[in-house]
């Protein structure tokens, strides 16, 4: 019990800090002179900060050091409490919105999923849109630290590998020895690139509101848009191109970006096996799908096919979830392949979701290793990533993670099937939520959204987003009796 109280104290402090994030929509409300919404946001800010303060006041005696076990509780607590409080402005501003839908929307924001239950986005009050996108952005911010600093500490699904153990840029000890410093440095990169993205989108033809909102959701690889038609609304190849560039940037490890920026050279990218594999896979898929669509006659000429294929493939594969056309109408191979990429392509220290490229590479090599072992029974061949040996216990951790990952997807899909959804919708919705990319197929396809789901189905998807974002183990460990035993 004491453990929970210590965590509540920390959560209280976090909520007080989180309440500061209302400042941005409040400023935008000033700019758009939308004073009713302004009051709603001030109210939400007040409630959030007082709730946080209250939690802290009641539990302030429990100052104990946070241990690894607290870590699981704190991370899950953060990712459930923050979206809960973030629903306040939505509930206050939008009439008739249920808490379930509002919570889905904010959870989708903070897990950078980008699935939406709202329709008529174009007519939403600008501060509310800014708030939704800011959640995407904050989610990305949290994920980077989670991925670079906290998950490796907990060692989830072989995550420790990404930190001290070896490969790629993470090996560079000079990335700063302290979590706090590392986080600050990565945030600096994140914030700086977001600003560049805003300017680039404005230059490409968006207005300032759209530019800021899309920059937020691009960097977080969230995929919220200010328009129901998503990026298709702009119908501009230039905007699509700019978004592709920044999505590809965000799907790489931010530690690599940091090292490259600090050293002012490209060599960290060359050493980042994950980034090379991910980019190679995504870009070749763009061309492949374009050829496929052209061959199938979906688009009359190759250039058009390449334009639509590139944007949608990059968007889904990086787990952003923007759409520029209804890819639900494409032959089923194309959207399925895009979703498959979303499961594996993102780098470990990025804002993307899914299994992560590093784990994919490890398993791929492990499979090859088994083949060699069958042919040469006496062989000694350790698993190597970028020339460094990956210890066996990490391989096992990754295997365990993958098993849970697929079991989660299967189980949640079955639950949706029981609730009466059709297979394609159910399966694609779960894939979209667990991998945090957003749009699925069928009932939850790019032209529609999650509004058609009933409350039960919404909660299942919501749980899928949370569990996928926090790398499964973190959430499920709370359900094991052992966790609560001393």
């Amino acid at each position: 019990m004491e453990r929970a109280l210590t965590v509540i104290r920390a959560l209280g402090l976090l909520l007080v800090v989180f309440s500061l994030s209302y400042v941005i929509p409040i400023i935008s409300a000033f700019i758009f002179a939308d004073y009713t919404v302004l009051w709603d946001f001030l109210l939400a800010m007040l409630w959030t900060s007082s709730a946080g303060s209250l939690m802290w006041l009641l539990t302030r005696r429990y100052k104990g050091e946070l241990s690894v076990r607290h870590g699981y509780l704190l991370v899950v607590g953060m990712w459930t409490a923050m979206p809960a409080f973030a629903t306040l402005p939505l509930l206050l501003v939008i009439d008739g919105l249920s808490f379930t839908d509002a919570y889905f929307e904010t959870m989708s924001g903070l897990t950078t999923t980008g699935a939406s239950v709202l329709v008529g986005l174009d007519y939403l009050s600008p501060p509310i849109n800014v708030w939704r996108h800011e959640l995407n952005w904050l989610g990305g911010l949290g994920i980077i630290v989670l991925a670079v600093a906290i998950l490796p500490l907990l060692g989830i699904g072989g995550r420790q590998l990404f930190k001290a153990e070896t490969p790629g840029p993470m090996k560079d000890a000079s990335l700063t020895p302290r979590i706090a410093d590392t986080a600050r440095n990565l945030w600096a990169v994140y914030v700086a690139v977001t600003m560049v993205c805003v300017v680039a989108l404005k230059w490409a033809g968006m207005n300032w509101l759209d530019a800021v909102c899309h920059a937020f959701s691009t960097m977080g690889l969230g995929g919220f848009s200010t328009h129901d038609a998503s990026v298709g609304y702009f119908n501009s190849p230039l905007i699509e191109f700019v978004l592709i560039i920044f999505m590809l940037f965000a799907v790489m490890n931010f530690a690599t970006h940091f090292l490259a920026l600090r050293g002012r050279n490209f060599s960290p990218y060359k050493n980042d096996t994950e980034a090379i594999a991910a980019l190679g896979l995504i870009l070749s898929s763009c061309v492949g799908i374009a050829v496929f669509l052209w061959w199938k006659g979906t688009y009359p000429d190759f250039i058009t096919a390449l334009r639509f294929a590139s944007f949608n493939v990059v968007s889904i594969a990086t787990s952003s979830g923007y759409v520029s056309t209804d890819f639900g109408q494409w032959p089923i191979f194309a959207p399925m392949w895009m979703m498959f990429l979303a499961c594996i392509a993102a780098s470990s220290g990025s804002t993307g979701g899914g299994i992560k490229m590093m784990r994919t590479l490890i398993l791929f090599k492990q499979a090859g290793r088994e083949f060699i072992k069958l042919l040469h029974p006496t062989v000694v061949n350790p698993l190597k990533i970028a020339g460094h040996v990956v210890p066996n216990n990490i391989v096992f951790a990754v295997l365990g993670f993958i098993f849970l990952y697929f079991m989660t997807i299967a189980t949640l899909t079955f639950i949706l099937l029981i609730s009466g959804m059709d297979f394609i919708s159910a399966f694609s919705a779960i894939l979209a939520c667990v991998n945090n990319f957003g749009p699925g197929l069928g009932q939850v396809g790019p032209e529609t959204n999650y509004q058609s789901l009933n409350d039960f189905q919404t909660w299942i998807c919501l749980f899928g987003m949370l569990i996928g974002r926090l790398e499964i183990f973190t959430v499920l460990i709370l359900f094991t009796p052992r966790f609560w035993q001393r």
């Binding site: 040469h376 006496t378 062989v379 000694v380 350790p382 190597k384």
Partner: protein
Amino acid sequence: MKVLILGAGQVGSTVAESLVSEANDITVVDTDASKLAALQNRLDLRTLVGNASHPSVLKQAGIEDADMLLAVTQSDEVNMVACKLSAALFNTPTRIARIRSADYLAHPEIFSHDNFCVDFSICPEQILTDYVRKLIEFPEALQVLEFAEGKVSMLAVRALEDGMLVGRELKYLRVHMPQVDTRVVAIFRHDRPIIPEGSTVIEEGDEIFFILATENLRSILKELQRMGKATKRVTIVGGGNIGRRLALSLENDYQVKLIEFNKKVCGSLASELGRTLVLQGDGTDENLLESEHVGDVDVFCALTNDDENNIMSSLLAKKAGARKVIALINRSAYVGLVQGGKIDIALSPAHVTIGSLLAYVRQGDVAAVHSLRRGAAEALELIAHGDHESSRVVGRRIDEIDLPKGATIGAIVRNGEVIMGHHDRMIEPEDHVIVFVINKQMIHKIEKLFQVSIGFF
């Protein structure tokens, strides 16, 4: 010459043996008294037990009037410190150290006069690795050695029954391959040297030594031997210093398998090597060799530190059908025993590496020395200085030079250009002259021949 050798291991004792026979004063220092006793029983030299990096030990060993310090202990660090000390305290003129670690070698500036004062660093394992690599690249050759920074090569081949040379005169070579300029510098028949003339008829089993420009190596080998397929599969037994280096240098060009007995060593090998397939097992286990298809291997190298195991596993491999087998053999008695039998090449590490040291010991300006036929013969690269007056070689035609019988000038390298040593060529100052000597006794004469007379100064 007074030489101080630190370390009485493989390299130290071979060098001592080779130098003693050339009338040098040798002192050997080691911490292991039994090794020194064994050495002293055999050779006429002085020994001293002690730590080679202590100034007092060095002083006692007579470093104050030594002409050369040869630091070849097991430890790179001891070797470097000994060089530094001898430079700082005793002003020894020439200091040579064995440095194995690639980490040190990657920073040559640490050997400069401000730092560790190592005049020359040698790495016997690397020399041996390069040597074996050549044998793998040119599987038809018995030996391939380089001179003048790799511009000139010396090639040794065995005349085979179905080869084009057997039963023909040497003159025929010229007629048959007019485009490739080579020179036969020696022929060994039943281990006895024959001085090659145009009319010499080659018999089966002769060892023929050619000198030629390195770029012609491939084409002459193609002509001399029936067209063998290029080397593709290499199996190495023994993951020690040499096996590891060899695998590392080969793995990008060939399919390499490395068999090592020690599990721990296997682990570290596998993490260091990339494409090499590391197998844990005994190189003399015929079941393992069979299951790894050793019969299809192009080159099989047994490189453990156990002579008997090397001989046995290479015999097994040869019997299974391996195209060429190489065995590393430390004991020189064994080398003579197996060379030319079932085992294609018996590799004596001492003789392969000694040449790099001999180059520093020789008088006159010697750029490279290769010890051949277990130290009996030698190939030298000498630099000619002076002019017609002061030198006995410069400004003369090759057939005017008073070479001892059995010594042959194979080639001349002038400003990077390779000139074959035909009888009518002139030697100019600063030429690199490659001389093949069939008998070591003549080396002193050759050295004197190339020395510039006093009048030059």
